[in-house]
């Protein structure tokens, strides 16, 4: 992801320097480069400013996790921040003593683990199936259809599930007419983990397959031909050529998923929390919302958010290190 280091291409005397590969360093040089490059800096500035205000400033604002933050001791958040009392790790102690917090952590990790097993492999399978469909037209049609739900909001996805599987949905209505007792999976806390996974699969299965399809198309077709000539059957070609070809992508996505182990989605859970109850549907993100913003316990919420960010960063760096050990490329190249 990082840019290649510029090579020192000092031009021979008597030629004007190439505008594209300048020499690094040098004070006089800096002025000349600045005169040449200021439009580029100016173009990047508005986006950089927005990130400063809406990304980095709140990231720094996480320090209120160490405060008994009280919005009423000043006018405006900044004033309140300056006037609030510092309490060290008090918020974290309260957080780690809170059984609701651990419920949320447990739910989050269960859902992550469940989806790693029952969701993660599915786009790979779909990509393999799509890749083997010979007719380009049929493949294009299937792709168009299965990509579509990715663009639906969670409100829509949950709505579709309610209309299909809810108490007044299509399935219940057909069952009732056939004389069976309908069951309502939309409000059952015991099967909630299956429900949210099914929703996630419905929304993103097709979309998740794109990256694997791209990786499949990059595999050298001559390998298959050579393997077939040597007598390798269908499954051995899959095992020895296709899967190794997909491995870098699989590892990359696994690392990203592990780094995100504490995020399982947010709107999906907010929308269904009342239907199945807090016990099943409270995840870390909803915990922050319901235990902090709704109840104005800002310090506690910031502590939970900071906990999540720090653990997530540690997870992704660890997973990446392990990938490098195993000889994979990982998220960013070793430098």
């Amino acid at each position: 992801m990082s840019a290649p280091a510029p090579v020192d291409t000092r031009p021979p005397a008597g030629r004007t320097p190439s505008p594209r590969r300048p020499r690094r360093g040098g004070r006089r040089n800096l002025r000349a480069r600045l005169r040449r490059d200021w439009p580029l800096l100016a173009m990047a500035a508005p986006a950089a400013l927005l990130l400063l205000v809406f990304h980095y400033l709140p990231t720094l604002g996480n320090v209120i996790a160490f405060q008994d933050y009280n919005p009423f001791v000043g006018d405006g958040p900044l004033d309140a921040f300056l006037n609030s009392e510092w309490i060290g790790f008090g918020n974290f102690e309260a957080l780690f003593r809170d059984p609701l917090f651990w419920d949320a952590v447990r739910n989050t990790l269960s859902i992550t683990a469940f989806q790693l097993v029952f969701f993660f492999p599915l786009p790979i399978l779909l990509a393999l199936i799509l890749n083997s469909v010979v007719s380009a037209r049929l493949r294009g049609f299937v792709q168009s259809v299965v990509y579509l739900p990715h663009f639906f909001s969670w409100v829509l996805v949950v709505t579709f599930f309610v209309q299909m599987f809810g108490g007044a949905g299509l399935l219940a209505q057909e069952l009732r007419q056939a004389g069976y007792e309908p069951w309502n999976i939309m409000t059952n806390p015991d099967t909630f983990i299956v429900l949210v996974t099914a929703e996630a699969v419905w929304k993103d299965l097709g979309w998740g397959a794109i990256v694997f399809l791209a990786a499949l198309s990059a595999i050298d077709q001559n390998l298959y031909e050579a393997a077939a000539a040597d007598g390798a059957g269908r499954w051995r070609r899959l095992w020895h050529i296709t899967l190794p070809g997909l491995r870098p992508v699989i590892v990359l996505l696994l690392i990203m998923r592990l780094g995100d182990a504490l995020s399982v989605g947010f709107e999906q859970f907010i929308l269904q929390r009342e239907a199945v109850g807090r016990q099943a549907a409270e995840v870390l993100d909803t915990f922050v919302y319901y235990q902090a913003i709704s109840t104005q316990q800002w310090g506690l919420g910031a502590a939970a958010g900071l906990f999540k960010a720090v653990v997530g960063l540690a997870l992704i760096l660890t997973a990446n290190k392990v990938a490098h050990r195993l000889g994979e490329q990982g998220v960013y190249a070793k430098s």
């Binding site: 290649p4 980095y56 909001s153 409000t187």
Partner: protein
């Protein structure tokens, strides 16, 4: 041929899987569309969702478009989507171009500044405090500015820009063209595919905005469509299925009929379904090459 003939059972298995997947997407869409156009009698006969159309009755659409919450929400969402996408695209394209020349002043530092957002990010609470502290509470800006820049989209566009042949840019520079002119006259026309895809991503994000509206928007007349959909369907159908924090006093005086609810769903789905075919052919070409090379 080296591939050999696949076994019949394998082919049938694949056919079944693909058919089921396509049906899983199309059946709900079909049921919602048909029900939204069904008359009261048809819905009563079916006992709920209608699968087989008997007539086309547009009264549900007339109801929701004759003023009121849904009409207003459609305008609000359209406004946010059009304006927000324009702001996002312009700022992202400018920044991507600004970052597309290795070796320019502060290039590495600036790139690091943008990419670091992937690793460290703010939590919900500080973000909420910053947005409210800037006075954006209950303003539509709160749905645009905090999410205006997606660094992922920026990286994708930048990768595309870096593939533009350097000779083209150099010759334009020799002719005396400034950076902005090079961007709009040479680079952008060559990058239509990626701009279309990223534009779709941004537009979908704005059209789908829900939770930020729960957090920041208090007045009913500024609710975007997803927020109204949530209160119509999930709250309207059964009080069990709504979020307690998002129950809406006064949005609907009476429970909407099933046809009206389904019409709201159709209105929410339609923009994606219309724009999507035009952009879809660029997905693999645009996004994957961008992401992989980024």
């Amino acid at each position: 041929m080296w591939a050999g003939r696949p076994s019949t059972s394998l082919t049938i298995g694949k056919g079944v899987v693909l058919t089921l997947l396509v049906a899983a997407v199309l059946v709900p869409l079909w049921a919602v569309l048909v029900t939204s156009l069904a008359s009261r009698g048809t819905i009563d006969d079916a006992g709920g969702m209608v699968m087989i159309p008997r007539e086309i009755d547009p009264s549900a659409y007339i109801t929701i478009f004759s003023g009121g919450d849904v009409t207003r929400a459609v305008w609000v969402s359209t406004l946010i989507t059009v304006f927000g996408t324009a702001v996002s695209l312009v700022l992202t394209v400018l920044a991507a171009y600004g970052l597309s020349r290795p070796g320019s002043v502060a290039h590495r530092g600036l790139l690091f500044y943008f990419l670091l957002t992937f690793l460290i990010f703010p939590g919900l609470v500080p973000s909420y405090l910053v947005v409210t502290g800037l006075g954006l509470k209950d303003s539509l800006w709160s749905l645009i500015l905090p999410s205006a820049i997606s660094v992922f989209n920026l990286v994708v566009i930048r990768a595309f820009f870096m593939n533009v042949p350097a000779e083209l840019l150099d010759s334009a520079r020799i002719d005396g063209a400034g950076e902005l002119r090079i961007l709009t006259r040479i680079v952008l026309p060559l990058s239509k595919a990626v701009i279309a895809v990223v534009g779709l991503f941004y537009a979908v994000g704005y059209w789908n905005v829900y939770f930020n509206a729960v957090l920041y928007i208090d007045s009913n007349d500024k609710f975007p469509l997803q927020r109204v959909l949530q209160s119509y369907i999930l709250a309207g159908q059964s009080p069990n299925v709504s979020g307690a924090a998002v129950s809406l006093p006064g949005v609907t005086a009476y429970p909407p009929t099933l046809a009206v609810k389904m019409a709201v769903v159709v209105v929410t789905v339609i923009p994606a379904v219309i724009i999507y075919p035009f952009v879809q052919r660029h997905f693999t070409k645009g996004v994957i090459t961008g992401a992989v090379k980024g």
